[in-house]
Symmetry: C2
Subunit: 127 residues, 2 copies
Amino acid sequence: MPRRTEQRDAIRDVFEDTDRPLNAQEVLESAQESVPGIGIATVYRNIKALVDEGWIVPVNLPNEPSRYELADLAHHHHFQCTTCQRVFDVPGCTHGLASSAPDGFEVEHHEVMLYGTCPDCTSEATP
Amino acid sequence: MPRRTEQRDAIRDVFEDTDRPLNAQEVLESAQESVPGIGIATVYRNIKALVDEGWIVPVNLPNEPSRYELADLAHHHHFQCTTCQRVFDVPGCTHGLASSAPDGFEVEHHEVMLYGTCPDCTSEATP
DNA sequence: TTGATTGTGATAGAGAGTTATCACTTGCGT
DNA sequence: ACGCAAGTGATAACTCTCTATCACAATCAA
């Protein structure tokens, strides 16, 4: 049976305290603030466990390491900042995407990715 | 200066004769129909050259090897069949995506991915 | 036709992300 | 408090895609 460890708690806290998808490296860096000695292997191990139990879900972008976010979020899309590479949630989905495929193609689900500049990087670029 | 070889011609023909993005393996298999002995290294080399000269562009999906298609196509999106893994072009783009991001996010471009079943796999699943 | 030089094919190697290994530590039932 | 099973951290190893290497073959100007 699973045990409660400070590393595991720290990793869960990281996801609960963040509203955007995080990759293993980002989780490591956030978790190190509460558990300085935590290692990357522990992060990967616990991410895997959290995915298996359905508490987080993977968010995959082309040519990017897997990110993860809480599984119980409402349907939404993602925005990646082309400057800092961070990924943000974009709430809602008002597009009639299912009907946009040609005849004969049955759409089961879709992904929308927006790319651009996030508020932080916009303000830093404006002196 | 570059030379004309039957391998290079075969690879260019593959892209011109196909209306969906192809990965290196798919290009290899198609090119082998006209040049049986062609190797994967030659495919990668020529794809790289064709990208550098702007004749094809990469089409990247999460956790998938890079695919490539002709660069001069009109703006469109992509559909991946969850059965055969092939990727197809979806013409047009009628969505007001630029306006869907939260305040402060500046959208520069976007990608829409549709996932589902292609006509070939739909008919094969219906006996 | 010749010959420099570019291209090819087979395969080794690089690079990135992720998983496995293993000795040591820690949580927790008794 | 004890003991053992589960967890951790460091790092080796794996997977997958793509690039580099190198001996040999093919192209094309002269």
